[in-house]
């Protein structure tokens, strides 16, 4: 250790620190900061509720070219909780019209995204065209089975 001067030791320390920091950022970027990780965290908070569920994140849907993907199949599964999370600016009338137009069953939930879901939606929706997609997330026994964009 004596072979290194004080300045050299400081520089080596800084290099190691920056290496660790980069590694931390990389780990965060690839594992912790991912949509999947955020989603798992949110599902874990209410595991019972989301245990077997299909979550639709809806920005803009219609009966013609953007119907709710797989809904006709999923609604026949009695063990599946179907939740529609719509944009926060949907009014009560919009939600009513949404239910009626897309024939959403009364026992399926339709509610507005809260801050956490909205943040997740925006993360999922990152695209170069600034297009607002909808997403279907299927959770099977507490695990994410499918994330589909439509």
């Amino acid at each position: 250790m004596a072979r290194f001067s004080k300045l050299e030791r400081t520089l080596i320390g800084l290099a190691v620190l920056s290496l660790l920091l980069s590694l931390g950022i990389l780990i965060f970027y690839y594992f912790v900061g991912t949509v999947e990780h955020q989603l798992i965290k949110m599902v874990k908070q209410d595991r019972e509720y989301y245990y077997n569920s299909a979550i639709y994140l809806i920005s803009s849907a219609d009966t013609f070219c953007r119907p709710c993907a797989k809904y006709d199949q999923l609604k026949n599964n009695p063990d599946l909780r179907i939740i529609f999370l719509v944009e926060p600016d949907f009014s009560d009338t919009d939600i009513e019209n949404f239910r009626r137009a897309l024939r959403i069953e009364m026992n399926d939930e339709v509610r507005r995204m809260d801050k956490a879901w909205r943040r997740l939606y925006l993360k999922l929706n990152r695209n170069r065209w600034n297009f607002y997609y909808n997403f279907l997330i299927i959770i099977n026994r507490g695990r994410i089975e499918e994330i589909r964009r439509f």
Partner: protein, 352 residues
């Protein structure tokens, strides 16, 4: 021979009684000419704009690519513009179908985000989502009518706040199996293309491809109808729609049969139909020949036919202000000579 003639006359009387009229000359004719076009410099429409008119004669034009609504005075001077691209309040996302209610002074615009209400001076009032794309919008007396072919109905009624009230009207039913690579939703949207119009008491549906007019009261009960059998393109379109069917081209596009009615408007207790050259002649060629038919709202009989023979001009939309016996027409058009999308004022030939 006498018996045969008598039978023919009785048959013709029967047909006339059922509003089946074979003769094209079923009303007096007047010729219209293009008197003025605008905008001159300030705006360049990238697509032919849908237009409508208010009680004062001001023209509203929807710039679909510009994502804006432009208001002009009757002389074509730009008064104001509103909208702008976006999903926020007062913003528009690919607007197209719209209606200016001349009595209440509100502008109703359908876009990808829903239906937005604006005041005449462009102030945003309200917006609601409908989730089923509409082909036409008409507003009257706290009611909004949308032409949305769904599984069972054609016209859907909403309040100004967006609350669903009622559905009515029969859509055209076809054998979907003759339409190749097309979902029933696409077929329904294609064959039911038309216009919904309302003056508060009566709601009309005008079919652009088949050429029928259906009349309903405000409760959605059918009051009557007229088949425009004298339009020559009708039989050909019916043959395609009911018997031949359609199939997608290799590139995914759909070869849609030409319209026989290009647009429809309601003003001053009269129904106006813009008939295409294909409707009049039953051919695809005479693009620049159009007729505007003025029909009585009560009897649906043709009162007057305006003939437009405009060289190198293709009309997409029109609007009319009808007061007494005076009809003022504006059209939105593509001028092949100037290669421009414009709005034009039509005048009777020989008038000042």
């Amino acid at each position: 021979m006498r018996v045969k003639n008598q039978l023919i006359s009785w048959f013709l009387i029967f047909l006339a009684g059922n509003n089946f009229i074979f003769c094209s000359d079923n009303g007096p004719k007047e010729k219209l000419i293009l008197a003025n076009t605008f905008p001159k410099e300030e705006i360049y429409f990238k697509a032919v704009p849908p237009i409508d008119i208010d009680e004062a004669g001001n023209i509203y034009a929807v710039g679909n690519r510009e994502q804006m609504v432009f208001k002009f005075n009757p002389e074509g001077k730009l008064l104001l513009s509103f909208g702008g691209y976006g999903q926020g309040p007062g913003e528009l996302e690919w607007p197209y179908y719209f209606d200016v209610n001349e009595h209440i002074g509100k502008v109703f615009i359908l876009d990808d985000a829903g239906l937005s209400l604006f005041s005449e001076d462009g102030k945003f009032i309200n917006r609601f989502r409908v989730f089923s794309p509409a082909l036409s919008v008409s507003a009257a007396l706290n009611r909004i009518y949308l032409l949305q072919p769904t599984e069972n109905n054609l016209i859907h009624e909403y309040s100004y706040e967006g609350k669903y009230i009622n559905s009515f009207g029969d859509k055209y039913r076809v054998d979907y199996s003759i339409y190749k690579n097309m979902s029933p939703r696409v077929v329904d949207r294609l064959i039911n293309e038309g216009s919904v119009l309302s003056n508060g008491d009566i709601v009309f549906y005008v079919s652009y491809l088949i050429g029928d007019i259906c009349k309903y009261n405000s409760r959605g009960e059918k009051l009557g109808s007229r088949r425009l059998s004298e339009l020559r393109g009708k039989a050909r379109n019916e043959k395609i729609i009911y018997h031949q069917g359609l199939s997608r081209n290799i590139n995914g596009t759909i070869p849609i049969p030409p319209r026989i009615i290009q647009a429809a408007q309601l003003s001053g207790g009269r129904l106006f139909l813009l008939i295409t050259g294909y409707g009049v002649y039953g051919e695809t060629e005479p693009l620049s020949h159009y007729e505007i038919w003025r029909l009585s709202v009560n009897s649906l009989r043709t009162e007057l036919i305006y003939v437009l023979d405009l060289k190198e001009i293709e009309i997409e939309h029109f609007c009319v202000l009808s007061r007494g016996n005076e009809d003022t027409f504006f059209i939105s058009l593509y001028d092949n000579n100037q290669e421009k999308n414009l709005i034009g004022l039509l005048k009777k030939e020989g008038s000042r």
